[in-house]
């Protein structure tokens, strides 16, 4: 088990700056997700940790040891690739054994035929076989050991790829969107399984994904990256409830957070003619964005925000109500219990009440600024 320290990592491909100075401190045994839209640099960062790519500037430390200049082979890190990258010409057992053979056997011992004659080879090979059997057992792929990757389903290949990483107990695991090639059902069960494997092995894990659900459900901490920068690093709850940037708020959560263009006022903010009871730490008149999660809205009495229903999405346990606010003609989505929305039709007039304590305010650059809900009712200015 080893912590990972990334210090001011920079990387450019030609004229494109992919990483613009990323610093991350990972605790030993932590499960950290790098999440962000495609092209945000998360995979490049992972490959720099792995040693498959070298950074233009910055340092990588694994377990307190600087590995910046080391080859991938010498870093003792295992990686699961998006397309699994199993050796097509080897059986599952040989695939699992390869990392052990490369590390536990000496070069002469690895020679074909001749290696069998070297002293100690037999004992080492037996060790490797035992370890392979153990890992295969843990991943329930024991019955597949004689097959080749081409004869396996996507889910089975994925397990073999996990097994190949697990089998040698590395200092850290890196996973590059390992679930993206699986169907939805398999993805959900494998997600849980990876978390359990991590809990058992306790090995520091960096998990790259563009799927915020994966990042939120699996990780101890989530690192949200955008445009080659680390925007926020925190527990899933922190980054969801207290995003430091409008882009983070917009990226996490489905459906997306509602954003309302507002003007700062005295102890309140103004949305068109409406005064909303949120105090902004900003000079009056400043243009701000107010973020409000769909679950912070409910159908309210006469004092809510007046809106017209555009669209209804029935999800089973709940319902998404898409509406257009009369003030400012802004689209807004509310997540409602199904019973509450009974009888609503498209075009109906509703009023939406909000939990203003959950409101988030962002300045013109998208940076989070302080907001305090005021205990007063919504008033027409």
């Amino acid at each position: 088990m080893a912590g990972i320290l990334l210090e001011d990592i920079r990387k450019s491909f030609g004229a494109t700056q992919v990483l613009k100075g990323v610093t991350v401190v990972m605790q030993p045994g932590e499960f950290l997700s790098l999440v962000g839209p495609s092209g945000c640099g998360k995979t490049t960062l992972l490959r720099i940790i792995a040693g498959l790519e070298s950074a233009d500037a910055g340092r990588v430390l694994v377990g307190g040891r600087e590995v910046t200049g080391l080859r991938a082979a010498d870093r003792d890190i295992a990686m699961v690739f998006q397309n699994y990258a199993l050796y097509p010409h080897l059986t599952v057992a040989e695939n699992l054994a390869m990392p052990l053979i490369m590390r536990r056997l000496t070069a002469p011992q690895r020679l074909p035929l001749l290696g069998r004659l070297m002293p100690g080879t037999r004992a080492r090979r037996a060790e490797v076989a035992a370890r392979v059997a153990e890992a295969a057992e843990a991943l329930r792929i024991g019955h597949l050991l004689d097959r080749r990757p081409a004869q396996l389903s996507g889910g089975q290949r994925q397990r073999v790829a996990l097994g190949r990483a697990l089998v040698r107990q590395p200092r850290a695991f890196l996973m590059d969107e390992p679930l993206s090639n699986l169907d939805a059902e398999l993805r959900a069960s494998t997600r849980r399984e990876i978390v359990e494997l991590h809990r058992q092995a306790g090995v520091t894990t960096v998990y790259v994904t563009h799927d915020q659900v994966e990042a939120m459900t699996m990780s101890d901490r989530v690192a949200v990256m955008m445009g080659g920068k680390l925007l926020q690093l925190g527990t899933p709850r922190e980054v969801y409830e207290h995003p430091c940037d409008l882009r983070v708020a917009a990226f996490l959560g489905s459906p997306r957070i509602n954003t309302l263009p507002v003007l700062a006022g005295e102890g309140q903010v103004h949305l068109g003619p409406l005064a909303l009871p949120v105090a902004a730490k900003a000079p009056p008149g400043a243009r701000l964005t107010l973020g409000l999660r769909p679950e912070a809205l409910c159908l309210g009495g006469p004092r809510g925000l007046p809106a017209r229903v555009d669209h209804l999405e029935f999800l089973g346990a709940e319902l998404l109500l898409h509406a257009r606010l009369e003030a400012g003609q802004v689209s807004i989505i509310a997540r409602l219990p199904v019973a509450e929305a009974a009888g609503l039709g498209i075009g109906a007039s509703v009023t939406l009440a909000a939990d203003w304590t959950a409101a988030l305010l962002f300045d013109a650059e998208g940076r989070r600024i302080g907001a305090a809900a005021q205990h007063e009712t919504l008033a027409h200015a």
Partner: protein, 280 residues
């Protein structure tokens, strides 16, 4: 008409006939050689055309071929030279091709351009300077002289490079993560996954050098070092100038290993192509 095997056979008939005719055309000299090796001299040059000998003269022909010159020695020389050339070609071409296909380094494109340029030079162009070199080094009439000029095959580098390029980068990166060095990757991962190419290249190389007459003719004088093709030439020059039956028998013996090899490799080759075609 409904689709079925009968119908497709009928539809394929013109194509089959055409291909069959082409194959016959290509095989005809070989068949004639085979038939002539079984006939006595007089029968070969009769003006009637018949493949089957009236009088079997096989024992005499093959016996003479094996007796007059050390044919088996020629075959052994051929095997040694071809295998040595193939081994060296693989030893150099595979890592070179890997470096050209999968590693990023300064000057890679220029180096590849040189490889392509090398493809354009016919083997006969450097023959004279090479001969002079071997003569100066006192290496004429040796395996070294037969093998060394072909140790590096630009064609092999080119062929393997094209094949290696289609391997996914992740496979190589996974091997690096597993702790392999670059040479380990070349021999343990890259080459085994380009098996059809390796088989095809081996076929090209072995057939070409087994049948090569030009270079052995330049550097070899003694029958002890002769390769099969050169051996047949010696045979004709020495004894059997006009014994065509025996000459044909010698030719059959000399080509037989190639035919056998080709049939075996072809099977392997098709297997390799079939499995490589599966989406894995």
């Amino acid at each position: 008409m409904r689709p079925g095997p009968e119908r497709s056979l009928l539809a394929d008939l013109p194509r089959l006939l055409l291909l069959g005719f082409g194959a016959l055309l290509v095989l005809a000299p070989y068949l004639w050689m085979l038939s002539a090796s079984l006939k006595p001299g007089g029968e070969i040059f009769r003006d009637s055309l018949s493949l089957w000998p009236e009088r079997f003269h096989a024992l005499e022909n093959y016996g003479k071929a094996l007796r007059e010159v050390p044919l088996l020695r020629f075959l052994l020389n051929g095997a040694v030279v071809c295998l040595a050339i193939l081994a060296l070609q693989l030893l150099f071409a595979v890592p070179c091709a890997y470096a050209l296909a999968k590693l990023r380094w300064c000057g890679r494109e220029a180096m590849f351009a040189l490889v392509l340029a090398g493809l354009l030079i016919p083997a006969h162009v450097p023959a004279l300077p090479l001969y002079a070199g071997f003569a100066a080094a006192g290496l004429l009439d040796s395996y070294a002289a037969l093998v060394a000029p072909f140790a590096i095959s630009v064609f092999g580098i080119f062929m393997f490079r094209q094949a290696f390029r289609s391997l996914p980068d992740e496979l190589i990166q996974a091997a690096r993560m597993d702790g392999m060095g670059e040479l380990g990757i070349v021999w343990r991962v890259v080459l085994p996954n380009a098996w059809p190419t390796a088989t095809a290249f081996a076929t090209f190389s072995i057939v070409a050098h087994w049948n090569d007459l030009f270079w052995p003719l330049v550097v070899v004088q003694s029958p002890a070092m002769a390769t099969p093709a050169l051996g047949v030439l010696f045979f004709r020059a020495e004894e059997a100038g006009n014994d065509v039956g025996a000459l044909m028998a010698a030719s059959v013996i000399v080509t037989a290993p190639m035919v056998a090899f080709f049939l075996l490799a072809q099977r392997r080759f098709i297997q390799g192509v079939a499995t490589a075609g599966l989406k894995g």
